[in-house]
Every structure is written in structure tokens, then in C-alpha cells.
């Protein structure tokens, strides 16, 4: 997952020592993936932009508590995003002033992602979230990480800080529930993890 330059572990160590530029570099590296995940959680471009910033600010706040033992910081950041999303109201209060200054992207047609495509993605994500409303919180988390965003069971387990077996059983339960509530979202083949993602294309 790492690109050229410093490894995540080196950048994270610099963060732990208070080097804010290292956080900037981690943002450059992981903001796309974190944004995709936040978008799949919120179904809103605007809210996802705020959630990404809150995630990196929360990561900085908790930096002393993590010794990075994996190659990539991303699973942990996704875990931070998950918690920040669940405590969105509290997180937004904590960073109220910052979020007030946060610029949001422009949806003008001459921008890279056209407004209609953006609305389309938001609509599809919201549709899926609505249909997944009957899932427990844990089942939704694994559904979003494993199925919608395509992360491995191992990365998902690291993000949610649960055993890998728990991830497997939650995915199975989530699929079973969705199969009865929204059969068109889940195919008959249990091995396929890309069905929901392909639904978003």
C-alpha cells in the first residue's frame, strides 16, 4: 500500500514526535481511500469531506496510543473514521471551528467529477445504506469495509479491532439478512465480494 518515499511507519513515528508535516504526507497518501470509505458511510460528498478531516485530526489526537506494527496505517485510519462517524455529533463539536473553515469541493461541470456523477454515486450509496438499515452496527461496518470498499478480512479486522473470525461471521450474517431484505443487492454466490460494489457502477 505504500508508495515511494517514506514508509507509513516512519511517517507515523514522526507524527508521534509532533511533526505535523508527516501528517500532511499521510493525508496525501491515504485521503483518497479514507474519502471513499467515508462516502460509503455517509452517502454525502459534503459529509465525507468533513469526516476525512475529522479522521486525520482524531488520528493526530490519538497518535501516542498507536505503535504501528503493520506496513500500512490505512486500516487503523479506517477504524478511526468508523468511530468518528459513529460519534459524528461529538466529533463535529470538537472540531467545530476547523470545520467552519474547511473548504468544500466545487461540483461545477468543468471539474474532474461532474455533478451528475457525484449525485448518482450519493444516491446509490444512500439506497444501499437504507436497505442495510436492518443490520446491526457491526454488520454494517464489515459490509461497508469488505464488500463496498473491497478490503480484505484481515484489514477489516485490523480496522475494527476484532478477530478475523468475527469479520467472517458478520459478513455472512449481513449477506443473509440482505438476501431476504434486498435480494437484488446480494447475488446467490456467497464467494462473490464484488456484487455490491459492481452495483455502484
Amino acid at each position: 500500500m505504500n508508495q515511494m518515499g517514506e514508509q507509513d511507519a516512519q511517517l507515523w513515528e514522526r507524527c508521534v514526535n509532533g511533526d505535523s508535516e508527516a501528517l500532511g504526507k499521510l493525508f496525501e497518501r491515504h485521503s483518497d481511500a479514507v474519502f471513499r470509505y467515508c462516502l460509503s458511510r455517509t452517502g454525502s460528498w459534503y459529509d465525507a469531506e468533513e469526516l476525512v478531516s475529522v479522521t486525520f485530526l482524531e488520528a493526530w489526537r490519538h497518535r501516542k496510543g498507536l505503535t504501528l506494527q503493520r506496513e500500512s496505517l490505512l486500516p487503523w485510519l479506517l477504524g478511526v473514521a468508523t468511530n468518528a462517524a459513529k460519534n459524528m455529533a461529538r466529533s463535529n463539536r470538537r472540531y467545530e471551528q476547523f470545520l467552519g473553515r474547511l473548504p468544500h469541493s466545487c461540483a461545477a461541470p468543468d471539474h474532474a467529477i461532474a455533478a451528475d456523477e457525484r449525485i448518482d454515486v450519493e444516491r446509490q450509496v444512500k439506497d444501499l445504506l437504507d436497505r442495510a438499515a436492518g443490520l446491526s452496527s457491526g454488520e454494517r461496518d464489515v459490509l461497508l469495509l469488505c464488500v463496498m470498499n473491497g478490503y480484505s478480512y484481515e484489514d477489516t479486522a485490523a480496522a475494527l479491532d476484532v478477530p478475523i473470525g468475527t469479520v467472517r461471521s458478520r459478513v455472512n450474517r449481513a449477506k443473509k439478512k440482505l438476501r431476504s431484505a434486498a435480494p437484488h443487492l446480494v447475488g446467490r454466490n456467497d464467494e462473490s465480494q464484488t456484487i455490491l460494489e459492481s452495483r455502484l457502477s
Partner: protein, 221 residues
């Protein structure tokens, strides 16, 4: 569009990155016990009489902020060639300022004041950010290496010919142009830091430490 095709919006990514860096810099740092005032007193006594090479960290005020230097790079000395004018060079910065509306230059009360007719600049970062936005800081492309690969530079042409609708903001979150009717150019703006050179505000591309790295004071607010 696939969810996997979605990226963090490119038009705000760099600004948000800079805002985050700045925000965490603003947060109070945890100070270990041995660096607290009481410990410092003992440490100071222990060091008294000795000399030690230290890191250059200094703040300096600037009283007259009517002319602001916007440096092309974190380099105080290099002059840049001017294309089409062999042997000619441009200094490592441009000087910017804001004229006082209606100032009568013919009746200048202070002819010796080289900055007469200019007003004090309250936000040098914002002023130099505009110079970067307009492309004045990268005329010959000599700052292309400062621009991140994923930054989408605007197509050639005047901003009025494009349709940028959202107000572009500087690294502190302030609009680049107070008048929302003024369209931004959309050129790359790096993170900027206010230092002091020759008793003048020098806005230099680089992180907060850039002044110390160049051996010059940071602007005291």
C-alpha cells in the same frame, strides 16, 4: 462511476492538507515534566556559563507592512533568468502591496517614502496566495516541481472564461478575493510561511520551519 474511482476532490485537497497541518500545529503540545518551568530553572542553572550551539529560532516584528515580498522558492539568493532577455535575471521574489484608493501621487506629502500611497497589509499570506493563484509565481514553469502530481492546473485563459463557482480559499480558510464576483485562476498555491528579510515581510513557500531552515526570523504576529 465506480465507488473505486472516487478520489478526494482535487480542487480542495491541497488546501485541506495545509489546513490540517496548520490546525495540529496550533494545538497545545504535551510538555514532559522535565521541560516544565521548574525543571528549566535547574537546567538553566546547570548550563549557566557554558555555551551551546543551538537551532536558530527567532521571531521578529515588522512595523511597516506596506511592501510584501513573495518568494518564488525557499531560496533567498537565486535569481532567475528571464526568457527572451539574455543575461537579464529576476530577483528571488516579487514585491506586492495594496494601493490606497484615491492617493494623489503628485501631492505626496512624503516624497522620500518609497512606499507612499500603499496601505498596510493585514494578511501577507493571503496577498501572496493571490499572486500564486494568478500564476505570477510560476511564470516560466520554474516552480513546476513544487506542484503535486495530482494537482489539476487550470487551462490557459482568463478566469472569466472558465466557470469556477466556489470561492477559493487560502491556507487559513479565508477567501482569496474579498469580492465573490472576482473569479479565481485556480493555479497551485503551496503552503506559505511568513518570515522576515531586511526588516520586510517575506512570504516563503514551505512549512513553518522554513524560516529557521533559512536562518531568518519568523514574523512575529
Amino acid at each position: 462511476m465506480n465507488l473505486s474511482d472516487v478520489r478526494y476532490p482535487a480542487d480542495t485537497k491541497q488546501t485541506v492538507r495545509n489546513l490540517l497541518v496548520q490546525e495540529v500545529d496550533r494545538q497545545p503540545k504535551t510538555v514532559p515534566w522535565w521541560r516544565k518551568p521548574a525543571a528549566l530553572t535547574f537546567a538553566g542553572l546547570a548550563l549557566a556559563g557554558s555555551t551551546a550551539a543551538g537551532v536558530y529560532v527567532a521571531l521578529a516584528p515588522v512595523d511597516d507592512k506596506r511592501d510584501i515580498r513573495c518568494y518564488y522558492r525557499a531560496d533567498l539568493t537565486t535569481a532567475y533568468p528571464i526568457s527572451g532577455a539574455p543575461g537579464e535575471t529576476r530577483p528571488p521574489y516579487i514585491t506586492t502591496g495594496v494601493f490606497i484608493t484615491g492617493f494623489d501621487a503628485k501631492n505626496n506629502p512624503d516624497p522620500d517614502d518609497r512606499n507612499a500611497g500603499m496601505q498596510q497589509v493585514a494578511d501577507p499570506i493571503n496577498l501572496c496566495s493571490r499572486a500564486w493563484d494568478m500564476g505570477s509565481m510560476n511564470l516560466e514553469g520554474f516552480n513546476d516541481d513544487l506542484i503535486p502530481d495530482d494537482f489539476v492546473s487550470p487551462p490557459p485563459g482568463l478566469p472569466a472564461e472558465r466557470t469556477l463557482t466556489e470561492t477559493m480559499r487560502d491556507q487559513n480558510g479565508y477567501p482569496l478575493y474579498p469580492d465573490p464576483a472576482i473569479r479565481t485562476f485556480g493555479n497551485y498555491i503551496p503552503f506559505l510561511t511568513e518570515c522576515v528579510v531586511d526588516n520586510t515581510v517575506a512570504v516563503i513557500p514551505g512549512p513553518a520551519e522554513v524560516c529557521a531552515q533559512l536562518g531568518i526570523p519568523t514574523l512575529e504576529k
